[in-house]
Amino acid sequence: MMPRKLLFLAILLTTFTGAMAAGLEAFDFSGNVNEDRYKNLIAQLRCLVCQNQSLADSDAELAHDLRREVWELMDQGKSDREVKDFLVARYGDFVLYKPPVKPSTYILWYGPFALLAIGLLVLLRILKSRSKQTDSGFSAEEQERLKKILDSDRPDGK
């Protein structure tokens, strides 16, 4: 009886955490702020308190405040770019899920392609050296001797 109850409780709890979403504030979307644009934007911004959640997902106090800030900036007619710049100026590139391309992030953006290129180069070299090896490495004289041995019935080739 007891284990069953526990199991039931465990299942119940996992269901609840799955269904738990951020308590989104009731903003007014009848005016300047387009709801789809707002939702799209907050999904691209990272919550700094719970770092693996976006502003859209997070229920942290700071996420509430930052959503309010985003809504107000949009209400003032700011573009997505300007809203992002506002947050980056205060919290750094870390708030962006998609980091900008700049010297300090080159390795992040181009590193995988560089590794791929190195891999292809190594592969090419290996293939090239293999194709060279198709000749047996015996001199003409040795090959003649070898042929004799193979053609003959005797192990010494005579």
Partner: protein, 179 residues
């Protein structure tokens, strides 16, 4: 390619990668570097915690090296940090506070109970000044130089270690700079 290079290359690559990952182990992803370092302190004008009718602004700490400590009564780590702030204040360090998203009565009670290391506290009820300063977790402590430039930021509670080895040497250095 000489043979030994070919054999050593994977070893070198492995050591490089291991070094990189080892460094990664000691980094704390919770510490987000502030883009405000070496930039002028964001302007604010807020009521004082103790006197709601009087305003305080960042021009109040211009001309002197100042600590700007972000705290709240709901912040457990702030409680832990508080005695260290008291010690710093006794040593003559100028500390202003940003009472962040707090209740006025609770904050006043806190200062009565545990002592008040602050020259003054700005009362940031809705947390907007906190956002302008890039605050994302209390306590946070900013070091502002004589020119009003943010020179350093401590995220999380100060420790006697960090005060001795980082904060005090920095304050001394900043004191010697021209205002």
């Amino acid at each position: 390619m000489p043979r030994f290079v070919r054999y050593l290359a994977p070893l070198v690559a492995f050591i490089a990668l291991a070094g990189l990952l080892y460094k990664g182990l000691s980094l704390d992803p919770k510490l987000v570097p502030s883009p405000l370092i070496d930039k002028p302190a964001p302007a604010f004008s807020l009521p004082l915690l103790q006197h709601p009718d009087t305003l305080i602004s960042n021009s109040d700490f211009k001309g002197e090296v100042t600590l700007f400590n972000v705290w709240a009564t709901w912040c457990v780590a702030c409680r832990q940090e508080h005695p260290l702030l008291m010690q710093l204040a006794k040593q003559g360090v100028r500390i202003y506070g940003l009472n962040y998203k707090d209740e006025r009565a609770a904050a006043k009670r806190w200062l009565q109970m545990f002592g008040d290391p602050y020259l003054a506290n700005a009362f940031d009820e809705d947390g907007r000044t906190g956002i302008n300063w890039g605050v994302y977790g209390t306590p946070e402590t900013f070091v502002v130089d004589k020119k009003g430039i943010i020179r350093h930021k401590v995220i999380g509670p100060l420790t006697s270690e960090s005060i001795k080895h980082e904060l005090l040497p920095l304050l001394k250095q900043l004191q010697e700079e021209d205002g």
